[in-house]
């Protein structure tokens, strides 16, 4: 699971390092590359924040990270989410276990409107990963199950003329293929909302 997260970070830093190389040769290449992106209207954005998603008759926070390439009104990227907090429940009575859930996947989006202060997007994420009941003492995964889900959402960003924007999302999460004791896909499916920051990493003027 952590390979995914590590991969995202490595790639992100690889990109940042390349973009910030100071020697003249690379500078020239970077300028050319930036120029190319600008000319083709290609940008790069990131979202970091929290999804508040249905979790077993309750709502629970998940940390979420999206990185997307944009082209005019369209965006395509990757998404990663991980359940936060200590959610413990009796699984094999009388023993309690902690739920751990991590998903990664792809996210597609389209901008549907924009004004001076607000932009609106419709995104759909398809993600997959696994949920586990973890022994809180030994950290052993007692039970785990692969699961996948689809997540259509509506997003607005505020203050779009700045590289850092506020972002709010509402959407519906449909989880499937979950096979764990005491829980099922329906326990994690439903409407969710999300709050966070959107960063225009490069040339995201749309």
């Amino acid at each position: 699971m952590h390979k995914c997260y590590l991969g995202l970070l490595l790639c992100f830093f690889q990109y940042v390092i390349i973009a910030q190389q100071a020697d003249s040769l690379t500078q020239s290449k970077t300028n050319n590359f930036t120029h190319f992106l600008k000319k083709k209207n290609i940008g790069l954005t990131a979202f970091t924040g929290f999804d508040v998603t249905p979790t077993m008759e309750n709502f629970q926070k998940q940390i979420r990270l999206d990185i997307s390439v944009t082209h005019e009104r369209l965006s395509l990227g990757v998404t990663y989410s991980s359940l936060l907090g200590v959610l413990k429940q009796y699984v094999i009575f009388p023993n309690t276990y902690r739920l751990n859930a991590q998903h990664g996947g792809v996210i597609l989006g389209i901008r549907i409107f924009q004004s001076k202060w607000i932009k609106g997007y419709v995104n759909t994420a398809y993600h997959w990963g696994q949920m586990v009941w973890e022994d809180p003492v030994s950290k052993e995964y007692v039970f785990s199950s692969k699961s996948e889900g689809i997540k259509p959402e509506f997003e607005i960003t505020i203050y779009p003329e700045f590289w850092l924007q506020l972002s709010a999302k509402v959407g519906y999460q449909q989880i499937s293929k979950l096979d764990l004791p005491q829980i099922n896909s329906a326990d994690f499916s439903g409407f969710f909302y999300s709050l966070g920051l959107k960063l225009n990493l490069n040339n995201e003027k749309y």
Binding site: C4, C11, I18, Y90, F93, G104, Q130, F143
Partner: protein, 359 residues
């Protein structure tokens, strides 16, 4: 264009497949449920768990409770774990009762009224030293009424002597009769060795092999260990090692009248006959074919347990099957000091009290 590579790498890595192995829940047999889904109080079971942890029931190693086909309690104590194989001691006997039923189902055996002398020709000499010995039947062995001289309750001399011999069946059959076969009750877990040998002669395979083929494979019991005496006869006295969940499966098969995943493993008739009272040797229990039942005497019967049958292993491995409550209570313990009716027995009473208190 090649400078766009980081973006592709980003997408590639980001959407990588999660490689962790999917650990399927062990729910092939039972789904998990909580006690409060069956009008029981979770907190009372928590208290019971605490009492076991505090050793109020002395050396309990495992407790598994199946209610209405759901696993509602499973816990291990004294450093035990789910996958541990433990010796179920003389609860092993019960496998011979099941094997005899299967042998009848399979056509190897016509009747339990068959004299054992007809099935054990190699022990002609031992059976010849008293003409009455030749009249001992399988039924008498199954009901602890063989009449063979034996003591494993007051002392363990006979059990030890048998287990130190080269051929346990021979050692048993050499014993004199101290009662007419079919008359007096005398608990004799060693007699299961005779049944083990009979199964071996009938099926041309050892009891362990026969049970594995007919029972364990069907019940998906994959991890087990079964010792044998020096002559190679499966130790049906106290030689079987099982996990607590697999021990529980045996009770569940009987609760389901021999049906396992739409397959008949053991005939319903045999289960009924072997688990209902054949005689009552004590005010507190009666006996089927190696299965025990509670009597209805005041103070001896736990709540709603008239049809309950159980096997009380001497070290504390007890299996209670309660059709009235659609309940299995499976206890693992090392309570040899208490013999048959120790803390594992009390634990069943307490669990039934929890049922009675919250009707």
């Amino acid at each position: 264009m090649k400078n766009i590579k980081p973006f592709f790498l980003l997408i590639l890595f980001g959407s990588c497949v999660f490689t962790n192995e999917n650990l399927a829940p062990d729910q092939q047999t039972w789904n998990y449920a909580l006690p409060n889904q069956f009008n029981l109080i979770n907190d009372e079971f928590i208290n019971l768990n605490e009492a076991i942890l505090n050793d109020e029931y002395k050396n309990i190693q495992a407790l598994v409770i199946i209610k209405d086909d759901q696993l509602i309690f499973e816990n291990y104590y004294l450093d035990q774990q789910r996958e541990d194989l433990n010796n179920i001691d003389n609860a092993t006997n019960i496998l011979t009762s099941i094997a005899i039923g299967m042998a009848i189902d399979d056509g190897y055996l016509i009747s339990i009224e068959t004299p054992i002398a007809d099935l054990l020709p190699e022990y002609e000499n031992e059976l010849s030293n008293d003409s009455l010995k030749k009249t001992i039947t399988i039924r008498q062995l199954l009901t602890h009424r063989s009449g063979l001289s034996w003591d494993e309750i007051v002392s363990e001399n006979d059990l030890e002597e048998m287990m130190n011999s080269d051929d346990w069946v021979k050692n048993l059959l050499k014993k004199p009769l101290d009662a007419i076969p079919g008359g007096r009750y005398n608990f004799n877990s060693g007699a299961s060795m005779i049944l083990s040998k009979i199964i071996q002669n009938l099926t041309n395979e050892t009891l362990s092999s026969y049970i594995d083929r007919r029972l364990f494979k069907a019940l998906e019991i994959e991890e087990w260990l079964w010792t044998a005496d020096p002559s190679g006869t499966t130790n049906a006295t106290n030689g079987l090692h099982l996990t607590q969940l697999d021990f529980t499966k045996i009770g569940y098969l009987l609760l389901k009248n021999g049906l396992w995943k739409d397959q008949v493993i053991l005939s319903e008739n045999w289960i009924y006959e072997s688990t209902t009272s054949q005689h009552q040797p004590s005010y507190s229990y009666s006996l089927g074919y190696l299965w025990f039942q509670f009597t209805e005497d005041q103070g001896n019967a736990p709540y709603n347990s008239k049809q309950t049958f159980y096997i009380p292993g001497q070290t504390g491995y007890h299996l209670y099957i309660n059709p009235e409550e659609n309940l299995i209570v499976s206890v693992g313990a090392t309570n040899y000091f208490y013999r048959l009716f120790g803390p594992s027995y009390w634990l069943y009473f307490v669990i039934m009290d929890l049922h009675r208190d919250h009707l």
